[in-house]
Amino acid sequence: MLRYSLKRAFSLAISLAVASLVIFAVIEIAPGDPASFMLGVNAQPDTLAALRTELGLDQSKAERYISWITGMLRGDFGTSYTYRTPVSQMIADRMWVSLPLALYALALSTAIAFPAGIYAASRRGKVGDLTVMSATQLGVAIPNFWFAMMLVLVFAINLRWFNAGGFAGWDKGLAAGLHSLTLPAIALALPQAAILARVMRSALLDILGEDFMRTARAKGLSRRQALWRHGLRNALIPVLTIIGLQFSFLLAGSIIIEQVFYLPGLGRLVFQAISARDLIVVESVVMLLVFAVITVNFLVDLAYAAVDPRLRSRT
């Protein structure tokens, strides 16, 4: 198990190094000089040169990559070109919205998907299964921004249970913070839950056909006991893969939902930074997201090994 974890950690480090190179290269290739963008088209050449020196844009590419990476390792992400504030501060502020939102949505999606998937699998072909399957079909098909607007219409405007947008901040307490993240979390979670429920169902159905499930029944386990004791853990392997992918998406892919609910999250930060050619912010956020995605995959790998003993011994 330890050896397996170390090997995974090693490949995590390699992935991060490669990803940082790729991100740096792609953003360098992107057209548009941030200095001239900041000063406008009528800028004097010497002012432009001065700003380029100040931003470090006159250094060689290798030097800039090294200083970017070493800075990040120290927690120094540089200074935003447009806002003139430390990038690390900006990201930290947004992270306190985006990360809880992603976790909240993931918890919701899992909490809905697991029971729905298990229920549908245990009632295969019956009315319950068909109902769950139709509902998930709908959940996959509905675009989440439209669903978000419907949520706002019903729960914020008509029922007035929630605010239509904005974020209360954590200083007013956990409950207030969670309250303002509830509608966005639901909007993010439902389509994911629909996908996850379908994966859960089909994984379980595959397992139900396995020989060891029949063995379990021959031992005297009821259908339900066999499903819980032998089916679930085996079905978890494909489900974990999807959960890993979904978390990455929830963290980075919530740009639209953040716009709809006017949340100061990472998605909006990237969106604004791209429009303003604020390369240093874009680079940092993208790198952070890549870090998150790779780390989540690492955790999923560890979870596989916890679930499946065959992976632990195959070192």
């Binding site: 020989d211 060891f212 063995t215 031992k219 005297g220 386990l221 003993p309 195959r314």
Partner: protein, 533 residues
């Protein structure tokens, strides 16, 4: 009083008749074997006793288990009986265990689910039964996972689960079919011993008549959902009356007579061949280890010769087959067909490749289901420089289909329209169509029922006469190899430990491994000649 009494049991699944008025009785301490070919309903009879039938099943008749009418029992009472009063052992030990749970947990589960004893006692009992089935806890601790055990060891765990609560009835559905002969002999001994020791009744489902004859007190022969004959074993073996039973026994010891071989020109020369597989790295920087699957193997196959290759699973016979086909490179030695290397320049040598063809074991998986028979049979034509076209192609297809006992009209059909035996005939037609100098039969009759197997063996003998076949027949089934080859090689752990004239090797084995293999193979007792056929 009988332990299990099945009376007039009929079963239909989604309206299709599966079993018709089946009768069967088992007394305590008695082994009753149900035998028959695939589709005879023998497994369904066992599943009916367990009430683990597939959805859409309807049963009529009566199954009395220790005085209780199984067909009337509610599901929760059935759960109480399964595992406690009836234990069951299945065919596939590789998949019958949950891969993510330890063997200890899985054996203990049988005990705990019935609340038969507290956890610590259950653990003790699990150790006891595992030791009883030959997995002593010193060497096989309860914390082992199924993937750390071999097929035979896994089957022992399945048996331990089934007998943990000392059920009155043990059902074994083809318990040794997936195992090697030496392992099979051990497992059969174990089952026999358990029945005697615990006084259990045993319902044994098997297609292997030799196993039946050796084990059972009583034999029931089934065909298409009906019992055709049932009697005490000795009585049935000496005085079988039903033509189907007679056919079944005749087919399972079917002998063919091969035509004399002509010529002694060497065709396939295998010299000092070594095939290594890299093992997974044990640490990041260590060199990966090697597993030697084929270890300095040398032999020569002459033109017109029929050579057998026998050995247990993992002995390297499939690896050797792949190397001969030029599918993989070898690490040392060389393989020449007709003087040319089978593998050259990092790929199979096509000039040589068109001189040999192969027939595989699985008649279901080795065809593309979307192609018609004419296209399937002519697949090897792509190896030729000038493949026959038009009417010539049609004639070749018709000739081959006729040669393997099918009709030229079958060329427009799809593969799902054929039975397993017919598919294997098509596979043989496909191999023969480019008149290869060498054919490899890789367990080509192992998946077939005995009666079909007898027909295919006859077909091979006929084809030897009309097409002068030269082949390498790879099989784990000694009785088949004995009748269908002139010379045989015995392979163990990557090495050929014995080779010689087939009759010579079988009647007077020189190597201890060959002896063990022949001794372990179950055999039908010689029937006395006075019995009328």
């Amino acid at each position: 009083m009988s332990l299990l009494q099945i009376k007039d049991l009929s079963l239909s699944i989604h309206g299709i008749e599966i079993l018709q008025r089946v009768n069967l009785t088992i007394a305590p301490g008695e082994i009753v074997a149900v035998t028959g070919e695939s589709g005879s309903g023998k497994s369904m009879t066992a599943l009916a006793v367990m009430q683990l039938l597939p959805a859409g099943s309807e049963t009529t008749g009566s199954i009395l288990l220790d005085g209780e009418e199984v067909l009337d029992l509610p599901e929760d009472r059935m759960c109480e009986l399964r595992g406690a009063a009836v234990g069951m052992v299945f065919q596939e030990p590789m998949t019958a265990l949950n891969p993510v749970k330890t063997i200890g947990d899985q054996v203990m589960e049988t005990i705990l689910i019935h609340r038969a004893m507290p956890r610590d006692k259950a653990e003790e009992r699990a150790r006891e039964v595992l030791a009883r089935v030959g997995l002593p806890p010193e060497r096989y601790p309860l914390g082992r996972y199924p993937h750390e055990l071999s097929g035979g060891q896994r089957q022992r765990v399945v048996i331990a689960m089934a007998i943990a609560l000392r059920p009155k009835l043990l059902i074994a559905d083809e318990p040794t079919t997936a195992l090697d002969v030496t392992t099979q002999a051990q497992i059969l001994d174990l089952l026999k011993g358990l029945v005697r020791e615990y006084g259990m009744g045993m319902l044994m489902i098997t297609h292997d008549l030799a196993v039946v004859a050796d084990m059972a007190d009583h034999i029931t022969v089934m065909r298409r959902g009906e019992v055709v004959e049932a009697a005490r074993t000795r009585q049935l073996l000496t005085g079988m009356t039903h033509p189907y039973t007679k056919m079944l026994f005749a087919a399972s010891e079917h002998q063919v007579s091969l035509p004399e071989t002509v010529g002694q020109m060497p065709l396939l020369a295998v010299a000092n061949v070594v095939r290594d597989y890299p093992l997974p790295r044990t640490s990041l920087f260590a060199r990966p280890g090697q597993h030697r699957a084929v270890d300095h193997v040398s032999f020569t196959l002459h033109q017109g010769e029929r050579l057998g290759l026998v050995g247990e699973s993992g002995c390297g016979k499939s690896t050797l087959t792949r190397a001969i086909l030029g599918l993989e490179p070898v690490q040392a030695g060389h393989i020449l067909l007709d003087g040319q290397p089978v593998y050259s320049g990092n790929k199979a040598n096509l000039a040589v490749r068109r001189k040999m063809q192969v027939v595989f074991q699985d008649p279901y998986g080795s065809f593309n289901p979307r192609h018609r028979v004419d296209r399937l049979v002519t697949e090897p034509f792509h190896l030729l420089e000038n493949p026959p076209m038009g009417s010539e192609r049609r004639d070749r297809i018709a000739e081959m289909l006729t040669a393997v006992g099918l009709s030229p009209d079958d060329s427009g059909k799809y593969i799902h329209e054929f039975s397993g035996g017919q598919r294997q005939r098509i596979a043989i037609a496909r191999a023969l169509i480019i008149r290869p100098q060498l054919i490899l039969f890789d367990e080509a009759v192992s998946a077939l029922d005995v009666s079909v197997r007898a027909q295919i063996l006859d077909l091979l003998a006929d084809l030897c006469a009309s097409y002068d076949l030269t082949y390498l027949f790879i099989s784990h089934d000694l009785s088949v190899v004995r009748t269908i080859t002139d010379r045989v090689m015995v392979m163990q752990a990557g090495r050929i430990v014995e080779q010689g004239e087939t009759e010579q090797v079988f009647s007077d084995p020189q190597h201890p491994y060959t002896e063990a293999l022949i001794a372990a193979a179950p055999r039908l007792p010689r029937r006395r000649p006075m019995i009328a056929r």
